[in-house]
Chain length 338, copies 2
């Protein structure tokens, strides 16, 4: 873990970055022998026997991927979880992570402590540790990035490509909550029920990576990814790489009670459900004869999986239909961050 | 490789980020099967048999770690090389990397193309590939981070800890050039000889990671790191973790012709040599009976290694002496980025 400016730099009266790293981050590395207490230049990792290493990285910018007044604990958890979600969708089990923080000079030590506390809480939840990182200062918006490292049985990583016409399309959990939650936070969506509003906001701020579900899809799903760009856009990604088309039945798309309430009041919000991002659910394709296996995985992991459509020939394109079988025109096919 | 904003976002008339990734970055992943052409959510890696994975990450902020008007090719190479330098100092051989770019809306496509060209050039030089990454936009200074992944024979990674009193202290190449080069770029150091000035600037902009040297130190050096914070500060890091002191003979510290010329004109620049950072040479400790082995490694790799001091008892502290054996007072023990 390198702090790229020196103690004598002062940092406007806050503790030196070396001391901060020691204080805030070293406890996050305590569980990982290969992190060397963040006192070396690199981390060491070996996956379990007959496993391969899976790596992914995602960055978040204040004002783009999170709101500047989001609590630091949830910013930390979101940063970690969006990456764990990528691993889960590939069938990988998370092991550790590297962290880069570009904080502002005026970022308070309290904020940093909250950030570290959020990481610690999730580390315990997901059984992972901090292995290393870098700390820099920016005059621009806070920018955070995280490299997550996991492992998967050799040859078993679930790819985006691999879906075949005739495969069932599934999604875990519920879709659209995060996009609606962002609308609530921006004051663009009025939710009279405060519990519903809180549910949507939490889903936006703290995605739930399906780490208990994804690894069980190895050898079961033909293709998978996590829904970050939006249901239809991400389905398009699978189709593009797999060389298939897809047809989604919008009435099958699983919605939370809060999302159903929002849609009941304004049916146009279906576009936020189909096109909104940040769900971090696993979207996957599997042959119909694996339906009972998928049901068993859902039961074991306590995470629902709903069949929402069918993979088709590439020439059919990617479409959403309503209950009567009519195509729905969805303007907002991909999610644009605010 | 995820682009975190959508094509319809427009991005001020420049090609969409998806298209840019395709265009600029996909060729950088061509050599790595586990990168899946940057069309998946994660990369897959297995080290060679009986090897472990070594991971490191470093970030650079425009105006802090590089100058906003540095050529994009050299910014790319510096970003890659500072990370390869960490791997080399650990005895690891680089294999691939993940890249996060936080570009500004006004960052030109030409700049990005230059950046990618710089990466490609160095990939070919170091035998590595891009495995994945993330692209975001910031309203602040451009921020770049890179996770480098390498491999080392199991159990052979060279740590910071491990130095013992009586070990010889060595450094590869020459020290101080980068700090002096930064002074040249900032107009703070006048070098009448333009070749000398160009040498110093190049050493600042394009560090030379000692990838041909570092892996040969496995089983030879007791401890190593790369000089990024400054010679004395980094020596202090080794001593801190190893529980030793150290004494450097400043007259033994290897200097380039350009650095010697600068010091001849202004002897006070010795502080930039001892305290300046960004050298990215390997500083290491090894027992005296390995001197001939180290000489052979230097000859094989074509990279010089100079004995500059001795590890001592911790109670002796970390000091620099002149040719007469007198302690030199060095104010600037650590490097502060501009």
């Amino acid at each position: 873990m390198a702090a790229r400016s020196k103690p004598e730099g002062g940092n406007g009266g806050r503790p030196s970055e070396f001391a901060l790293i020691e204080d805030l981050f070293a406890p996050l590395a305590a569980g990982a022998p290969g992190a060397y207490g963040l006192k070396d230049d690199a981390a060491l990792f070996s996956p379990s026997p007959d496993h391969e290493t899976v790596l992914t990285v995602d960055a978040m910018v204040a004002g783009v991927h999170f709101l500047p007044d989001d609590p630091p604990e949830t910013v930390a958890r979101k940063l970690l979880r969006v990456n764990l979600s990528d691993l889960a969708a590939k069938g990988a089990t998370p092991r550790g992570y590297l962290l880069v923080t570009a904080w502002r000079a005026e970022t308070s030590v309290d904020w940093m402590r909250g950030f570290a506390a959020g990481l610690m809480e999730d580390q315990n939840l997901f059984g992972i540790s901090l292995w290393g990182g870098d700390t820099v200062t920016t005059t621009g918006p806070m920018t955070l990035s995280l490299t997550a490292i996991g492992e998967v049985a050799a040859g078993q990583m679930i790819r985006r490509g691999g879906a075949r016409p005739g495969d069932d399309i599934y999604v875990t959990g519920t879709v659209g909550d995060a996009a609606l939650g962002l609308s609530v936070l921006r004051g663009a969506l009025d939710m009279p029920d405060t519990a519903d509003a809180a549910h949507l906001v939490r889903r936006y701020r703290e995605p739930e990576p399906r780490t208990a579900f994804g690894p069980k899809l190895c050898g079961v799903a033909h293709a998978a990814l996590d829904v970050s760009d939006g249901l239809m856009a991400d389905l398009g990604h699978i189709c593009e790489v797999s060389g298939t088309g897809a047809r989604i039945n919008m009435e099958s798309v699983p919605l939370s009670r809060a999302a159903r309430a929002a849609l009941a009041r304004d049916p146009r919000l279906v576009e936020a459900v189909a096109g909104g991002g940040d769900d971090y659910e696993i979207l996957f394709a599997a042959p119909p004869d694996r339906a009972s296996k998928i049901g068993a995985i859902a039961a074991e992991s306590g995470i629902s999986a709903t069949r929402i459509g069918t993979m088709t020939e590439q020439s059919d394109g990617v479409s959403a239909i309503d209950g009567a079988g009519n195509k729905i025109a969805l303007k907002q096919l991909g999610y644009r961050h605010f």
